[in-house]
Symmetry: C2
Subunit: 196 residues, 2 copies
């Protein structure tokens, strides 16, 4: 399945919005239910302005087949490529950091089916080169967001038969990331706790 | 001016290929005249396979306006965004590295006009966060490629009236990058000399 930048997904059969339903929104207030990507992007902007860290979302890879130059370089034929790396990478205290952010509406576990083989291979390489690699996982139902080290996710990915990580595992081994106004998601605090 | 992934440029008036002319190619043999981007991409692939470093080219940012889902998610209206960061970033020996690659056909200096204000701002931020930031500059006429620290390029960018860096400056202060078969461009050797 390919995920598009506007939050739409395409699995070859139908398209589906990944926004929350109204019943899910009813449990939310303030940042609750706000899309994880928006929380992270706002935080990245804040952290950059305050010179705390420099993290950017990787643009979605698009193969351009046709450009109409008569209309000021309008792309008229192109397609999305499948993701081969993570969504975010950057720099914090001279170290390279790399992470993928995922949201789940599951109550009891985080399913690993949306993580691709190439992303796992990429993260293994980051770990080998001594980068800081992790996942930011949002449990919408519990209104909790965790940082979990990529090594642990890879371990589950490669050994778990259910291809999921239990919610309880996050409570015990994850670092809960605090929500706030500025930044929306204090993920640097979680990085400090885990890696520095 | 916006640079497109296929090597075309668009300055609002005309489009122009950035490939070398046949007379420029006549001075070349082996890697000479091979496009700098190809040399770097081949080297990144080699370095990754050998677990030496993990550097990727950032995809070009494209704003997608219209997708035709009836044709398997074909993008039918989109446009290129202006570059706000560098072309490459990644990880080497736990450190974050970030660089921009440029080629010039000038004999006596490297013109800074193709480097954007946003790229300079981005590199300043990388330096502030203690990342490794540099430029890879190819002088096609001299058949030489140099690594030059971003601090020095920024210094020229902000103070030079001619908005260029003399070729002699590269000979004295740059690190010449050796060409080869595998990798095509031994830029890690140059990083080792300069930063490790």
């Amino acid at each position: 399945m390919i995920k598009y930048p506007n939050g739409m997904t395409y699995n070859g059969k139908k398209k589906k919005k990944q926004h929350l339903t109204s019943s899910e929104l009813s449990i939310s207030s303030a940042n609750r239910g706000m899309e994880l990507e928006n929380l992270i992007n706002q935080s990245n902007k804040y952290y950059r302005q305050k010179h705390i860290c420099l993290v950017k979302k990787r643009p979605t890879s698009i193969t351009v087949l046709k450009v109409d130059y008569s209309k000021g370089a309008k792309i008229t034929n192109a397609f999305f490529e499948e993701k081969s790396t993570t969504d975010y990478n950057g720099l914090y205290k001279s170290r390279y950091i790399d992470f993928e952010a995922k949201s789940t509406k599951n109550r009891t576990s985080f399913p690993l089916k949306n993580i691709t083989f190439h992303q796992i291979e990429h993260l293994k390489e980051v770990i080998l080169q001594q980068g800081i690699a992790f996942f930011i996982i949002q449990f919408v139902i519990h209104n909790k967001i965790f940082l979990l080290d990529a090594k642990e996710v890879i371990e589950f990915y490669e050994t778990s038969k259910r291809k999921s990580i239990p919610y309880d595992y996050f409570l015990t081994n994850g670092i809960e990331i605090e929500l706030g106004y500025n930044p929306n998601l204090k993920y640097i605090d979680a990085i400090n706790k885990k890696y520095f």
